[in-house]
């Protein structure tokens, strides 16, 4: 095992542990997709953090959360992988781990809930972590950036920071299943009638569209399973959004983003053209807070969001 310090270990004095919320220093778990095909999400998150005056300390040695898939192979492995991640945060004196993906949020919270509520599972995890000198004491909370924006920054403060309001751009919120369901795991807001994304959209000067698709599934996890099923789920939801007047979609989940941005074109055959550009949460908030559009990686999307932004005179 290497004894070289990780970047976050070099930057932080782990003996000065304080609550993340007070110090505005958070453990940051970007997840796999934000480091691979949605790098624009990672970049825009870091730019937004700087704007907000918070420090996101990336846990660079953290593993995948299990992606809701490894549970299909083994009932314990995702829990222990996540315990390892929490142990890394604790070692740095960080009690908050911030995610930017709905699936990471749900599965990391589920693992943490099991660890904290079940002594046997905590012991099992620590027995394995002990093999490489790590230990999880159970002090970590997993939260999504969306919740941080509302709880720690606050909607009023956010509103006050807006320099480029969205001029009433009609935005359809798309939550992604695992940030709301199951409610026993997430429970930050009502799973059946959430409104955090709507609150954010309105705080930055947009108009939130209400439609039944907002809490439905994007089909990401079965994109490869059977032809057309996941594509139809994208088409069905985007049709609903479009029919309710949406001009764009906002999602806190890069998996939803890949599905909605990537498969809308293919869903047109059955559901008609919808062509709704999809923003990652920190992109749209970042834009409103004055981060230049090109730095937010909007040009990386398959359905170019800049078209509607030019039309609505948000960018030239």
């Amino acid at each position: 095992m290497s004894s070289t310090l990780l970047p976050e270990e070099q930057a932080l004095d782990s003996h000065k542990a304080t609550r993340s919320r007070d110090s505005k220093r958070y453990g940051f778990f970007p997840g796999c997709v934000a480091k691979e095909s949605c790098k624009e999400l990672f970049n825009s998150t870091m730019l937004l953090a700087e704007k907000l005056g918070i420090e996101l300390i990336e846990l660079t040695a953290a593993s995948c959360c299990g992606a809701s898939v490894v549970n299909d192979v083994n009932r314990d492995v995702a829990r222990v992988l996540n315990a390892r991640t929490y142990a890394q945060a604790e070692a740095l004196g960080l009690d908050d781990v911030i995610t930017i993906c709905s699936t990471c949020t749900g599965h990391m919270r589920a693992a943490n809930k099991e660890l904290l509520e079940n002594e046997e599972q905590m012991d099992q995890a620590n027995a394995i972590l002990g093999k490489f000198g790590a230990k999880y004491a159970g002090t970590v909370t997993v939260r999504h950036l969306l919740w941080l924006l509302i709880d720690d920054i606050g909607l009023d403060n956010l509103r006050a920071m807006v320099v480029r309001p969205l001029n009433g751009l009609k935005v359809a919120p798309f939550y992604g299943c695992h940030i709301i369901r199951p409610e026993s795991v997430n429970g930050w807001e009502s799973a059946r009638n959430p409104h955090s994304l709507e609150d954010i959209i309105e705080a930055i000067g947009g108009e939130a569209i209400d439609y039944a698709g907002k809490t439905r599934c994007c089909g990401f996890h079965i994109q490869l399973e059977k032809d057309n099923v996941a594509t139809d789920m994208v088409g069905q939801n985007m049709r609903m959004a479009k029919d309710h007047g949406a001009e764009a979609v906002l999602t806190p989940c890069p998996l939803c983003h890949l599905a909605l941005d990537g498969y809308q074109q293919d869903s047109a055959a059955r559901w008609g053209r919808t062509d709704l550009p999809t923003f990652h949460l920190p992109q749209l908030v970042g834009y409103a807070l004055g981060i230049p559009a090109d730095l937010l990686g909007l040009q990386k999307h398959l359905i170019d969001p800049r078209t509607i932004m030019v039309e609505r005179e948000l960018i030239s």
């Binding site: 079965i222 490869l224 040009q299």
Partner: protein, 332 residues
């Protein structure tokens, strides 16, 4: 007493071509359930209002319907919890079913999927070989109790987004009920049952947890994962995309600490399945054209695994991740 406006879906397949809505005012005690409010409307206002019901205690599973857009048992839903600001409650039939009359729907697709399971015990040996009844330990029975509580109300089936676009999917209730027999120590058809439910698209579950709203806490979402695990541990239909996906994801995490996207796509559709690869190619090219995937990432995702190498750069301290996989004897 509270005045409630019931905004009702009305349709009779025998005479109507399109549904219409009726607004029916009822005056009922504040603590009344939606089912009791409907009973009042039927008894006092319009006897033709149709809905299924029997026990009024969340035991029979008859009265699932869509209440203010949310599917659940009318007998378990209190009016005061769902009444809208304008004093109304909208009542519709369950989605994902063909309406027959008002809130009564054609349940056939749901029952068909259930009967395909052969939902009865098929023991390993003949009754005559047994001097006593077949016994189950409390420990073994514990696993089955939650699923045995299923009242087949079809709420989960109505909520399932996969069923809504592909009626071939078995749906949550059938998979949960398959689990009930797969894990029953007295049953002799475990392998056949896992194969049957796999053929009925076990692996098409979208992991969305919509069925976590089960009114009887069967939690089909968790039982679906249990059945998938049984399929992998018994090695049933391992050539299918579902098991290949789960195993490739696990393998890339063990090897690199991360879910390696390109390798997962190729490992799931089949490294040598050219036709399937051609189908995913347009999206890959679109992702590349926007710089979301680099040609290098595509190339290493395609070739590195064949050389036994990780397709993406492993995370720091990846040997710790491998220790976790090895300690738990994960079969990848």
């Amino acid at each position: 007493m509270a005045k409630i406006k019931l905004d009702l879906f009305r349709f009779d397949e025998a005479v109507d071509t399109v549904p219409h809505r009726d607004l029916v005012e009822v005056e009922v005690p504040e603590t009344t359930t939606v089912l009791d409010a409907l009973e009042w409307a039927k008894a006092e206002v319009d006897g033709s209002i149709s809905f299924r019901r029997s026990c009024r205690s969340a035991i029979c599973g008859s009265c699932s319907m869509n209440i203010n857009g949310i599917t659940g048992l009318a007998c378990k839903t209190n009016c005061k919890d769902v009444i809208k600001a304008d004093g109304s409650i909208s009542v519709d039939p369950m989605p994902n079913f063909q309406p027959m009359k008002d809130m009564v729907v054609h349940m056939d697709p749901f029952w068909d999927k259930y009967s395909r399971l052969k939902p009865y015990l098929q023991p390993k040996d003949a009754d005559t070989d047994h001097a006593t009844e077949r016994r189950v330990s409390p420990e073994d029975m514990k696993k089955l109790v939650a699923v045995a509580n299923c009242v087949m109300c079809a709420t989960c089936y109505a909520l399932c987004p996969v069923v809504s676009v592909d009626p071939a999917f078995a749906g949550p209730a059938a998979i949960a009920y398959a689990y009930r027999f797969i894990e029953d120590v007295r049953d002799g058809q475990r392998g056949e049952r896992i194969a049957q439910i796999s053929e009925d698209y076990l692996w098409l579950c979208a992991h969305c947890y919509a069925c976590s709203y089960c009114p009887k806490h069967v939690d089909p979402n968790d039982r679906i994962i249990d059945v998938k695990r049984a399929a992998i541990s018994d090695k049933v239909m391992m050539g299918e995309r579902g098991p290949r996906h789960a195993l490739t994801v696990s393998k890339t995490i063990k090897q690199t600490g991360m879910l390696a996207e390109t390798e997962v796509v190729l490992g799931t559709v089949g490294r040598f399945n050219v036709i399937a690869q051609i189908k995913v190619l347009p999206l890959a090219l679109r992702l590349m054209s926007r710089g979301k995937l680099t040609p290098f990432e595509m190339a290493t995702g395609g070739t590195a695994p064949m050389l036994g190498l990780p397709s993406i750069k492993p995370i720091p301290k990846v040997d710790e991740v491998r220790t976790i996989f090895e300690s738990l004897e994960v079969p990848v």
